[in-house]
Point group: C2
Chain length 433, copies 2
C-alpha cells in the first residue's frame, strides 16, 4: 500500500519534514484503509475507512452551527453502543443536500455493514453481524453539491479488501492525508500513558481549514485509543477537553456545518474499569488526551489559510472562565489585531479595542498586557520601561504570545489563532480567477 | 477661508466629484470654524469647532465598548442642558490617556468657554456667560498617545476668530474634511422637511474608518438642525434611528473606544412644540433624520478600508428584529462571505454557513436566498432555474444585495458592509513598512 504521491505533494508546500510528525504505530483493534474514489478531478486518496473488528466504544462532539450536514444528522441518530466503522470522505460536505444526502449515507452504511459482516465470517472465530447503524460518517468539502453516493459505495469493496490488521506509521499518514481537503499538511499526534498499571496509546488525526467551491472551513478530528473505556467516560473526557483545545482555536471566526471530533476506544488493553472521570486512575489518560487534542488543534491553526504566525492569546486572572473566553476570542477574531500581527506591528491599541468591544466589564486600573516577556501595559498604564523597538523586534517571531492579565479573579482561558494575511484573501477570494 | 488643499487631496483618491455631495448651505444658529493645529506631520485642518451662539439642545449615543475614551467620559459628565460648542480633533483619540487626557479636555473647555464668553460680550445684545460644561468633545485617531492639550488650546483663539455667522457649502465641506483621519472621502448629507407648517433643515457630517498608529476604526457623526426640539425628543429620535443606520453598519466587526453620534438643535425655527415622538407632526422629521443618518452610514461603509463593493444584507420575515440583526451581522462580519464577494464569487454556501453559525434557530425548509433579483435558494433547496453564470455576472456589480428570507415571521433587519480585500490587509498590516 504505497503512499499516494498526490496527497503528499500538497503537504510538501510548507517543506515539512518527516521528523515533524510523531511515529504512530500499531494500535490494537483499529484497522485503516484508504482509496481514491475519484471525488477530486486529480488522483488522490479521498476516502478513508476505519474498521474496528471487535467494535469500539465511542463519543463525539459536533459543530454548534444551527445548520448541520446530513452525516452529522446520521451520526446523531445512531443508537448503537458500539461502532464498527468510521468512513470519512472529502470533497463533498454532504451539507444542504437534503434527503438525498441522508439516503446516500444509508445506502453506503448498508453496503459497508453487509460486506464487513462477510469479512467477519471470513476472519473471526465468532463472527458478529455488523449493522448499518454501527457505521459513523465524517464528510468534508463542498456544500450544496449532490452527494457522490455511487462513487463512494462502489469503493466499499476495495476499502474492505485493503484492510490489514497491523498498522504502521505510513498507514496513519495515509489516513491523515486522505481526510485533507486543501490543508497544506497532514495532522497527526500521539501520546502514551498509564491507566492503573496498564500502558495505553492515544492516537489522533485531524484536518483543518479547507476551501473548495463553495467551500468553508471544516475541522475533523478523530482520536483512537486501545484503552477500555465506556461511552459515558469517553463522552465526559472528550467534552471536558474539547473546550480548551478544538473549541479554543479560531482561524477566521467562521463555523462549518460539518465540524466533528470523535474518540474511539477499542478496549484491547484490559485496564481497570473506570466508572467516574474523577477516578485518580484516569488522571494521566485525561492529561494525555488533552495533549493529543491540543497538539492537533495547534496544527490546524498553524496550517490555517494564509497563516504566517501562530498566535496564543492568554487571558489570566479573570472573574470567570466564560469572561476570559469571551475576551480571548474577541482578540483572536479581531481582523485589526490579526492584520497588525501579520504586519509585525506591536499595535497594542488594537488589543485594548478588542478587550473593550468584548462587552466584559474590566477594571482598567488593574489591566496588564504583555507580548511574550515584553511588558506593555501595567496597571492600566504604559509600562515605564516599555521599548517600542524591543516590541517590534519580538513581532518578527513566528509564534506570538499575547498575555492579558485582568487581575480580577483566578480564572483563565487560552485561545489560539493565526494572523490575517493577503494570502488568506487570495485563497478565499481569488481562487477562481 | 479657503479650502485646505491637503484635506482635499485625500478626498480625490476616489475621484469623487463635487456633484457627489449635496449642497449644505446656511443652517441658522450654528457656526463652523476649522484650523490646522499641526496634529499631523503634514499641514491639514485637524481641529474643528462648532459654535451655537444661542446654545443648542442636544443628544448623543456613544460606543458600546467597555473601554471608552476620555472625551466620552467628559461628555457623559456634562450636566448642562444646552451645548455652546462641539470641538472635534483628529490624530489623537484621547483613549487610554488616563487622567492627563481628561485634564487636557478640562483645560481646553475652560479656555474655549472663557473666550466664547468674551465673544458673546462683543457680539450679542444680551450676552450669556458660557461655562466649560457647555463644551462637548469629539476625538479620533491614535490611542494611548499623550493628548496634545497645548497644541489644541493654543488654537482656540484662532478658531474663535474664524467664526462667521453665515455658513455655506465650502464651510461644511471644510468641517467634513477637518474631522477625517484616513478616510478617503468627506461624508456629508442633508434633508429638509416640515414640522407642522414650518420648514426645517437636517444637516450631517461624519467620519469613518481611519488608521493611524496604533489606530482603530472610529466613527463620528454630527447632525445639526435648526428645528426647536427638546433634549428628550432629540435623544429618543436619535436612539430610535441609530439602530437601523450607524448601528447597522460594519466594516470589520471591530468597535472603537471613541464612536459617537450627536444631534444638535439650534431652535431657530419656531416649529410647534413636540412633547412626544409619537406626535404626528414629528413624523416627517423622524423620516428625514433617518435618511440623513442612513446616507452618512452608507458613505462610511463605501469608504471602508480597501472596499471595492458595497454590500447590503437584508434579513426578511424573521420572528424578531433581534434575530434578524444577529443573522445579518453574522453574514456581514464573515470574512469568508466578504472575501467571496471581493472575488466576485456567488458563493452562497458561505451565506448558509454564516446563517448556521449565528445560533438563531431557523426552519431550513422555509429558507430562501437571493443575490439581487437572482433566486438561489427557495424553500431550502437550490432554485430550479438557478444559473451559476447569471449569478457570477451579478457579482461584478459594485453594489451587492444579499436577501435572506426566513419566512418565519414579520420582522426584518438590514445591515451594510463592504468586501474584504488585499487592500484592507495592506492598510492594516503593511502601512509601517
Amino acid at each position: 500500500m504505497p503512499l499516494n504521491v498526490n496527497n503528499f505533494i500538497n503537504s510538501l508546500n510548507l517543506k515539512s519534514k518527516n521528523r515533524d510528525f510523531q511515529d504512530l504505530e500499531h494500535l490494537d483493534g483499529v484497522s485503516i484503509s484508504t482509496v481514491c474514489a475519484n471525488l477530486y478531478s486529480k488522483f488522490r486518496d479521498d476516502l478513508v475507512m476505519f474498521y474496528f473488528r471487535d467494535g469500539a466504544n465511542y463519543a463525539s462532539v459536533y459543530t454548534q452551527s444551527k445548520i448541520v450536514s446530513e452525516n452529522i444528522k446520521w451520526n446523531l441518530n445512531i443508537k448503537s453502543k458500539k461502532i464498527s466503522s468510521l468512513i470519512v470522505n472529502t470533497r463533498n460536505a454532504n451539507a444542504f443536500t437534503g434527503s438525498d444526502g441522508y439516503k446516500g449515507l444509508k445506502e453506503i452504511a448498508e453496503e459497508a455493514a453487509s460486506q464487513l459482516t462477510e469479512k467477519q465470517i471470513e476472519d473471526e472465530d465468532s463472527p458478529k453481524k455488523i449493522s448499518s447503524n454501527q457505521v459513523l460518517f465524517g464528510c468534508t468539502g463542498t456544500i450544496g453539491e449532490k452527494y457522490p453516493t455511487e462513487k463512494i459505495k462502489n469503493k466499499i469493496p476495495e476499502l474492505i479488501k485493503r484492510i490489514r490488521y497491523t498498522q504502521n506509521k505510513f498507514i496513519w499518514m495515509k489516513a491523515a492525508l486522505g481526510i485533507m481537503t486543501t490543508d497544506l499538511q497532514p495532522k497527526i499526534a500521539m501520546e502514551e500513558c498509564q491507566i492503573g498499571n496498564k500502558s495505553v496509546k492515544i492516537y489522533g488525526i485531524a484536518k483543518g481549514s479547507g476551501m473548495i467551491f463553495p467551500n468553508m472551513a471544516t475541522t475533523l478530528g478523530y482520536i483512537f485509543t486501545d484503552a477500555d473505556l465506556s461511552n459515558d467516560v469517553l463522552s465526559k473526557l472528550l467534552k471536558k477537553n474539547i473546550d480548551t483545545t478544538f473549541n479554543a482555536i479560531t482561524c477566521d471566526g467562521d463555523t462549518s456545518t460539518n465540524d466533528m471530533v470523535s474518540i474511539f476506544s477499542t478496549g484491547k488493553v484490559k485496564n481497570p474499569i473506570i466508572k467516574n472521570i474523577n477516578d485518580k486512575k484516569i488522571f494521566n489518560f485525561d492529561k494525555a488526551l488533552h495533549l493529543v487534542l491540543l497538539n492537533l488543534s495547534k496544527r490546524i491553526v498553524k496550517d490555517g489559510e494564509g497563516a504566517t504566525k501562530f498566535i496564543t492569546v492568554n487571558i489570566a486572572k479573570s472573574k470567570s472562565e466564560k469572561e476570559a473566553r469571551v475576551i480571548a476570542f474577541s482578540i483572536a477574531n479581531s481582523n485589526l489585531v490579526k492584520t497588525a500581527i501579520a504586519g509585525e506591528d506591536p499595535n497594542w491599541g488594537r488589543i485594548i479595542m478588542a478587550i473593550g468591544k468584548s462587552g466584559v466589564k474590566i477594571d482598567l486600573k488593574k489591566l496588564s498586557i504583555s507580548f511574550g516577556s515584553i511588558k506593555i501595559i501595567e496597571k492600566g498604564q504604559i509600562f515605564k520601561n516599555y521599548n517600542e523597538n524591543e516590541a517590534s523586534n519580538y513581532m518578527k517571531d513566528q509564534s506570538i504570545d499575547i498575555l492579558v492579565n485582568l487581575n480580577m479573579g483566578s480564572k483563565s482561558f487560552t485561545a489560539y489563532t493565526m494572523d490575517l494575511t493577503k494570502k488568506y484573501i487570495e485563497i478565499n477570494a481569488d481562487y477562481r480567477s
